[in-house]
């Protein structure tokens, strides 16, 4: 044997039920008997999506997939494949699924083990600026299949069967949305009696710390386009629009190139691939207003108006862009469509949980070792994401909370770590799925400060159209600031709750309806921290500056470094004697604290 092998055993629920543990034991036994333990690594992976053929064993290099493996097969696999280097044809299965292509390159890394890539299947594998790369991985085959073999109705049925739900955050069933848009404009709905319809891709990603859509478009723009063309065929539209923020210049450039290449190959334009169907896609740049991620505001912005939401109904599926029925989906939703068509809606519905199918992309950030862009099957727990994929909290610090859903979401404390990630479970725990921001918070962060950060953001981004959101978020922010500065009273906490619930109920659009969530969820889960700020005038994390005091302890050797660095001359003392901070002068900038080499300055 001349080379190293990596054997991966699927550790998804399906394969666990089919006794993959026994297979692992048998495998390790065999490797031991052959004295191969140093040359062969045995890994476990998350669900590989081939549950019907499980238990699955994959051997790299070469990406040989063995299906329906029994413990009795193991000696033969080791003898033939590992010792003699000849893959075993009897058990090998040929699979040409679209999903999980990354596994051939990344499958043996722990970071990717629990992941499953459907929307991001080509990201990090292909050259996004070369349409040939996309074509070589069955690119635009789903479109061809749809145009050859499927009626628009069948396409919608397939999407419905998949159970795919909107990945922008709200989780509306995608197939139902398609059906509604397809039907609008018929006699059933005389309001919009026109056969003119539009398809929109919402790439106006605005959550702080979120970069799912940017990475998806920068890594694989064609899959989004292919999804949109299929959507256009299904509902009978001729024009598609990608609404993307101008702050993403590289994504815009790659999208422009992808559209030009797709036109050249006849995937866009008149009579696509020789069929009767014509469709084209344009790009509209957003100016970076958060509210334009809301569908009615986005549509208004495309029309040339000021990006402000309007009441629904009528929903865009009935009356959208220029008053015509409009199908609007998020980038990630579109990226799933080619897989739903080629790997089938039935297969797609086997991934995930009862009511949330498929996978979800998350931008994992904050206090976690492996920050990154990940895609996991629905139902993966927060613990698996943070500890198995994210590698846990750096510097052995304590986990405090995880924030999901960005400024519309909430903070979940440690007791919710075993919550499975799906639309219903996250909502039940008091947060939301959102578009996929996931920020890990450790003991060094103050929950009042976190709530304030998100509220500052939404308050800034409030468009001002409706009073609850415009005035309410401002009042909430004032109260929060008061608490953070140590001037809060106990009734302020109740006022925040009352005001928050009122804003949620009375606001016009999703921005206002969800803006109080970070505040309400932190009060719910970390009430004691709010009370400490109010009663004891203390911030346990040492973040709220106004509540901090700096003190010099007896460790001080009198070097004078702190005195020199203090911008307001609040520190006095003679050389080689203990120095003192004048609390009245101190502005709590922390410069002395970081300058002191002897750990003689403490913050309380």
């Amino acid at each position: 044997m001349s080379k190293e092998y990596i054997i991966t055993i699927c550790d998804g629920t399906g394969c666990i039920q089919k006794s993959n543990a026994a297979i692992r034991k048998a495998l390790e036994q065999q490797l031991n008997d052959h004295n191969l333990t140093n040359d062969v690594r045995v890994n476990l992976s998350g669900c590989l999506g081939m549950c019907d053929k499980g238990p699955i064993v994959v051997i790299n290099p070469g990406y040989t997939v063995y299906g329906n493996v029994t413990t009795g097969d193991i000696p033969e696999i080791v003898e033939e494949h590992i010792v003699k280097g000849k893959p075993l044809a009897r058990l090998a299965i040929q699979e040409d699924h679209l999903y999980n292509r990354f596994f051939r390159i990344f499958g043996d890394a722990k970071f990717f083990g629990k992941q499953m890539r459907i929307a991001l299947r080509n990201c990090g594998i292909i050259d996004p600026e070369n349409i040939d790369d996309y074509l070589s991985l069955r690119g635009y085959e789903a479109l061809a299949k749809v145009l050859t073999d499927m009626t628009p109705k069948q396409v919608i049925e397939e999407v419905k069967l998949s159970g795919l739900r909107g990945r922008g955050g709200a989780g509306f069933p995608t197939g139902v949305k398609w059906q509604l848009t397809a039907r609008a404009g018929s006699l059933n709905s005389p309001r919009a009696a026109s056969d003119e319809k539009y398809v929109i891709c919402n790439a106006d990603e605005g959550d702080p710390g979120a970069f799912m859509d940017r990475s998806a478009i920068e890594g694989d723009p064609h899959t989004v386009l292919e999804g949109m063309i299929i959507g256009g065929y299904a509902i009978g539209a001729k024009q598609g629009i990608v609404y993307i923020r101008a702050e993403y210049p590289l994504a815009v450039r790659r999208l422009e190139k992808a559209i030009a290449d797709a036109r050249e190959h006849g995937f866009l334009g008149k009579n696509i691939l020789g069929s009767d169907f014509s469709f084209d896609i344009d790009i509209r740049l957003g100016a970076g207003a958060f509210v334009c991620g809301e569908e009615t505001a986005l549509i208004r912005s495309i029309e040339g108006g000021r990006g402000m939401p309007r009441p629904r109904p009528p929903y865009p599926s009935v009356e959208g862009l220029f008053g015509k029925p409009t199908l609007i989906n998020n980038v990630e939703t579109w990226a799933n469509i080619p897989v739903v068509i080629l790997d089938s809606g039935k297969w797609f519905s086997t991934v995930g949980t009862e009511r949330s199918k498929g996978t979800k992309v998350f931008a994992l950030a904050g206090k976690v070792v492996n920050t990154g862009l990940i895609e996991v099957p629905m139902g993966t727990t927060l613990r698996e994401i943070i500890y198995d994929i994210g590698g846990g909290i750096p510097d052995n610090k304590e986990f405090k909370a995880v924030q999901t859903g960005g400024p519309s979401g909430g903070c979940l404390p440690a007791k919710y770590l075993d919550t499975p990630v799906d639309y219903e479970s996250l909502a039940k725990a008091g947060s939301i799925m959102g578009s996929g921001g996931m920020i890990v918070i450790d003991q060094d962060s103050c929950m009042v400060d976190i709530a304030k950060f998100f509220l500052e953001f939404t308050q800034n981004e409030s468009c001002g159209k409706c009073t609850p959101c415009r005035e309410g978020t401002r009042r909430m922010l004032e109260i929060l600031t008061k608490i953070a500065e140590g001037k809060g009273e106990m009734y302020d906490i109740e006022n925040l709750e009352r005001l928050g619930n009122m804003i949620k109920k009375a606001s016009l659009c999703g921005l206002g309806q969800s803006a109080p969530n970070p505040v309400l969820s932190t009060i719910l889960n970390f009430r004691e921290e709010y009370e400490e700020h109010v009663k004891d005038k203390k911030c346990r994390a040492g973040v709220c500056k106004k509540l901090l005091t700096y003190e010099i302890t007896d460790k001080c050797v009198g070097c004078g470094a702190c005195k020199k660095v203090c911008p307001v001359a609040a520190i006095t003392g003679t050389v080689k004697a203990k120095h003192v901070i004048d609390r009245n002068k101190c502005i709590k900038c922390g410069a002395c604290f970081s300058k002191c080499k002897f750990n003689a300055i403490i913050k309380k």
Partner: protein, 119 residues
């Protein structure tokens, strides 16, 4: 009239032959991450080193390509070396100096630089 599925089959075959024409079947393939995040971490300079090696530095039998983001934010810029019949090697936190060493050691002599490999 050809069916769309037939047209796409033909297009794929053409695409594959174009990729092969660009040297895809070289004994080693090198991928450099080039998303906004990777570029911000310095991947453009890294790519430049590889490009120079291919065009001027006499590095042959290597297929060089850019790629999107694989999601390893904290380890960027990333570089992958894929060799037929071997497990792929992924390098993290690569700068131009390290890129040069990958060329000299890994690509030219076949020595994997283990300390930069990410898991």
């Amino acid at each position: 009239m050809a069916k769309p599925t037939d047209i796409i089959k033909k297009k794929r075959a053409e695409a594959v032959s174009r990729i092969i024409g660009k040297g895809y079947l070289s004994s080693k393939r090198v991928y450099v991450g080039m998303a906004t995040c990777e570029i911000a971490a310095g991947s453009k300079e890294v790519m430049e080193v590889f490009k120079n090696a291919v065009t001027k530095g006499g590095l042959t039998d290597v297929y060089l390509s850019q790629k999107g983001c694989a999601g390893r934010c904290n380890l960027e810029p990333t570089v992958e070396v894929i060799e037929v019949g071997k497990n792929p090697v992924r390098y993290g936190k690569i700068n131009p100096e390290k890129a040069q060493q990958i060329i000299d050691k890994h690509l030219k002599k076949g020595e994997v630089i283990k300390e930069w490999v990410i898991d």
